[in-house]
Symmetry: C2
Subunit: 237 residues, 2 copies
DNA sequence: GCCAATAATCATCAACTGATGAATAAATTC
DNA sequence: GAATTTATTCATCAGTTGATGATTATTGGC
């Protein structure tokens, strides 16, 4: 008696054009993003990704050659979108503000596209932001990858900040951005640390709460470091 | 002709007490710290660690049971040291400042032990801090690990900040700390991003430069968020 | 001086890893 | 409509992985 324990026969060869199947390449990228964002490059196997995307592992190599190629493709896909949005947002603010340009305005314009995408609750963008957070804090290759992907937009941000901070020193400007970058990426990494630490008072998923606080906090730091010491604290003797 | 290609015979069994060998357990932890800090939990194999420590892989399992056990031991070893230093530093400042306590003073007291250890150039502490940075931005288990290891000291910090910020809202306080945590850990992660972005103007290894800027930047943000809006910026109409 | 506990290496395992050449089938080109 | 290109699965490989039971040698307690 032949029991049908044979595994489901999967069609081989190029798929029918009429198959309204979603683009396989995108499906692989979605699955990879999901896994990489949760476990990082080394914590994921190509098999896990292939399984979630419901394709053979060979297909990943067909499209992306190597595991690293797949990772890079994931990292770049949404970067193009968010970089354009941030760049446009800064330009729009600088144009509308004119000579009334402020540090907080620039930073808010820079942050809004990210925080709004995060606030929609779209899990795929959440995952992507968590991935950025990990890469930003990854030694050896994280700095290189972040730079390659985001330096253009960051220089755009810094140019706008220079307009709001006449005669600012380059050093103060870059260090201030560094603190901004750290605060932003930890916020996007969604580890639940703040929920636990605050015993529920703050929720790491509450991007509206973050949106109201982040720009003022960071702008205040920028002004303290980057403006000539008009507001130097008087020491109590 | 017997050519001596046999590999070096290694002594078996418990080592002689007279062997002035460094404590094997510590040697394994050093090697593990070195690797985990650079490549994260999944990017390291127990073989690599064993090889650097010049011991058999079985010895890692003898002392730490599992790879995760080894990782946790690495993470906890220096945490105890740095937590005590930070806690003591905050206490000393609060005591010496009395009623003249300031936000910047508290934050500076909190940061100094870390930045000083980083400034000595001790590679092992550098590695450890880079490890914290990665864990802080690791989804799934990073928040839990950070909380378990550091929440005590952070609550100590937040208690001190409450003294400098009467009637502060809990929510503002915790979000402000979150931004501090992100800025600090990215700074400690030493990815070289800032060096590249600033084209050499800032160096991520220049902890003296960081030490001068971080407390003012962060304290300024805290005051902006946590103080009743006495200094609310007047909007230009 | 015997014996249990300790600290180490050896030898090996079953499972997993990234990758690839071959096979297959549809689409496109000419 | 034949030939080439594209997209997919199949079958498999050589190397790596975390882990462990067996073995060996020394220490420390009685």
């Amino acid at each position: 008696m032949k029991v049908s324990t044979k595994r489901r026969k999967v069609r081989r060869g190029r798929p029918l054009k009429t198959d309204a199947a979603p683009d396989m390449r995108e499906r692989i990228l979605d699955a990879a993003e999901d896994h990489f964002s949760r476990h990082g490059f080394w914590g994921v196997t190509v098999r896990e990704v292939a399984q979630e995307a419901k394709v053979d592992t060979a297909l990943l190599h067909y499209y992306f050659n190597t595991k690293r190629g797949l990772f890079d493709a994931v990292f770049e896909r949404r970067a193009e979108i968010i970089n354009k949005e941030r760049s446009d947002s800064i330009d729009a603010y600088v144009k509308s503000a004119g000579s009334a340009i402020t540090v907080e305005g620039v930073i808010d314009a820079f942050l809004q596209p990210i925080l709004q995408r995060a606030a929609t609750g779209d899990q795929r963008w959440h995952n992507y932001f968590a991935l950025i957070a990990q890469v930003n804090n990854t030694p050896v290759w994280g700095g290189e990858t972040m730079g390659r992907t985001f330096d253009n937009v960051i220089h755009h941000l810094i140019d706008a900040l220079r307009k709001a901070l006449p005669d600012v020193s380059e050093e103060e400007l870059y260090w201030s951005y560094h603190f901004l970058s750290g605060a932003l990426t930890l916020t996007l990494s969604q580890t639940g640390r703040i929920d636990r630490l605050s015993e529920g008072v703050c929720k790491s998923s509450d991007f509206e709460a973050i949106g109201r606080r982040m720009a003022p906090f960071i702008a205040s730091g920028f002004e303290r470091l980057c403006k000539p010491q008009t507001a130097k604290r008087k020491k109590i003797p």
